[in-house]
Symmetry: C2
Subunit: 298 residues, 2 copies
C-alpha cells in the first residue's frame, strides 16, 4: 500500500450561510463533526477569502462610496466605475491597468464559457477593464474587491491582513480541539496566458507556503534548478475544484495528507515577489524582446 | 455524509524508473493494481510531461545541438547558452525574454529556498535569464526544455503535441480496462508575482479543461462575472503536491472524485489565450498605467 505521503484527501465543507459576527471556526468544526471527518494534526483548511469578508464585515455599500476627483479621472482612463476605482485605491496600490474587454474580443472568452454568450459578452463590455493592485504585497485583480454572491449594491473587500485571519482560525481550532492545523486563505484570480482563473493563496498560517528545495540533488545527483513549489497556492488550486461546485455553498475545504511543513511563523509574504524589482526586470525584458524581434531572431 | 462531489482523493503513483520505449499506460495500471486503488470511470490521471518525454524519447543531447548564427546572437541578448536558445527556437516561438538573475537579486529568491544559499545564487547567476516561448499555443518558460532528472548532457524536450499524448494514454487505458478516464499532461512553470512555481496543464484528454459557468446566477440571483475555472490546471496544481515529494519518483497522480465534465473532443487549446491579442492589450495597459502614474492617480 502507498505510504501516507502518497495519498491526499480533500473534503468540501458545506457550511450554513454565514453572516457578520458568526463564529467561522465553530461552524467549520460543527460540519467536520457532523460529517464524521473530524479534524487532526497536520490537516489543512483552505478558506475562501469571501467567507472571511462576510463574517468579519469587510463589506462596502456602493451607494456610500464617495469617489475623489483622482478616482474619477482614473476611472475614465481605466474604463471602470468610479466607486470601484475609489475602493481599489483605498485598499491597494495600482500595478497595471488592463483593457480587458478589448483584449478578449474575438478570443472566445467569455462567450464559449457561458450558457448565454450574448449576456456574457455584454457583461465583459460593461466591465471594460481590470486593474491589478498590490494589496499588502500580494498582486490581485481589482484589489480583491468582488460582488459575486453579495446582496445587490454590496461588495466584499479583501481581508486587510489575510495572514492574521488564517492565524486566528488556526489558533481558535487549536483552542477548541487541540489539533494543530494549517490554514490557507484563498482567492480566485487570473492565470497567465490562459482564458480563465484558478484559486491562489493570499494568507497562510501554520504551514510553510513553499517547498524549499532549490538546488537539492535530482535523480542523477545534479543540483536541481527549481524545486520551489508554491505549496499554499497548490492547496488553494486543489480546493477550488470542490469550492467551485456550488455558489459559495462550499467556502472551506479540509485537506488531509498534504505534504506540508508545519511552521509557526508562516506568512504568505514569504513567497510574494517585490513588485518594483519585478517591474524593472520586466521592462528590460520587453526591450530585449523588442530588440530580438527587430533583429528577426525570435 | 457529504455527497460524492464533496470529496476528492489523490493517489501518487510510484512508478519504476522508465526509459525510452516503455509502455507507460501499462506501468500505470500495474501500479494502480498492486496498490489496490484500481481504476474507474471518471478518474483523472495527471501525468508529468517529463515522463512522457522519457518514454517517447523526446530528448536532445547538448553536444549534438549545432546553434545557428541567429541563435548565437539571441543567446548573447538573452544571456542564455546558445544550445538552449537553438532548441527553444526549434520547438517554440519567443514571447518574452526575462533577465531573471538580475530580477531576483536581493529578493531572497533562491537563497531562502535552498539548503545551500551560495550554490543556489551561483546557479541563478549562471542561468542568467529565462525565455517565455509559445509552444503550440501554450506559453511556457524555456519552451518546456528541462534538464533536471536527466542524465548529464541530456535535456528533455516538451512533447510536440501534449493533447495527443493525453489521448493516447486515455485510449490505451480504455482498451486495457474499459475505464473511461481523463488525462492531464502537466508541467512546472512560474506563477505570476510570486517567487516559486506551480504545475500547469499543457495537454488534456477526455475532460473539459474548463468549467463553463460565466454568467450563471450567484446566491442572490445575479449573473456571475467569472466562474471560468481552469479545471485541468487546478488538477495539475493539486497533483504537484504529491509529485514534488520525491525526485520524479511520482510522475503520475490518480485523482478520484474530481468534479470534471467528460468530453470526447477536449483539447487544452480550448483555454489558451491568443498571444498576439493579449500582447496588444498588454501594451495599451502599460500606456494607461504610465499615464495614471504620471498624473499621480495610482
Amino acid at each position: 500500500m502507498p505510504s501516507r505521503s502518497d495519498r491526499m484527501e480533500l473534503h468540501g465543507l458545506r457550511l450554513p450561510e454565514l453572516k457578520e459576527g458568526d463564529d467561522l471556526p465553530r461552524a467549520i468544526l460543527s460540519t467536520v463533526e457532523s460529517t464524521g471527518i473530524g479534524i487532526r494534526d497536520g490537516d489543512v483548511l483552505v478558506v475562501a477569502s469571501k467567507v472571511i469578508s462576510k463574517v468579519k464585515g469587510y463589506l462596502a455599500r456602493i451607494s456610500e462610496v464617495e469617489p475623489s476627483l483622482r478616482s474619477k479621472i482614473l476611472a475614465k482612463v481605466a474604463g471602470r466605475p468610479a466607486w470601484l476605482v475609489e475602493l481599489i485605491r483605498r485598499v491597494g496600490r495600482i500595478v497595471l491597468i488592463l483593457p480587458f474587454s478589448e483584449a478578449s474580443r474575438g478570443t472566445g472568452f467569455p462567450e464559449e464559457f457561458s450558457r448565454d454568450p450574448n449576456l456574457a459578452r455584454a457583461m465583459v463590455e460593461e466591465e471594460g477593464g481590470t486593474i491589478l493592485a498590490d494589496v499588502g504585497g500580494v498582486v490581485i485583480t481589482d484589489a480583491g474587491i468582488d460582488w459575486s454572491n453579495c446582496p445587490e449594491g454590496v461588495v466584499a473587500l479583501p481581508p486587510p491582513d489575510p495572514d492574521a485571519e488564517a492565524r486566528e482560525i488556526a489558533d481558535r481550532i487549536r483552542e477548541l480541539t487541540g489539533a494543530r492545523v494549517g490554514v490557507v486563505i484563498s482567492d480566485t484570480d487570473f492565470a497567465p496566458f490562459r482564458m480563465g482563473s484558478v484559486d491562489w493563496a493570499i494568507g497562510v498560517s501554520g504551514i510553510d507556503p513553499v517547498r524549499r528545495s532549490f538546488g537539492d540533488l535530482d535523480l542523477y545527483g545534479k543540483p536541481k534548478f527549481g524545486g520551489v513549489d508554491l505549496v499554499a497556492d497548490e492547496l488553494a488550486a486543489a480546493a477550488a475544484l470542490l469550492m467551485g461546485q456550488s455558489s459559495e455553498g462550499i467556502p472551506v475545504v479540509l485537506v488531509r495528507g498534504a505534504p506540508v511543513t508545519l511552521r509557526d511563523d508562516a506568512r504568505y509574504s514569504m513567497v510574494t515577489a517585490p513588485v518594483s524589482n519585478m517591474g524593472r526586470a520586466f521592462f528590460k525584458g520587453l526591450l530585449k524582446t523588442a530588440l530580438a524581434k527587430i533583429l528577426r531572431l525570435g
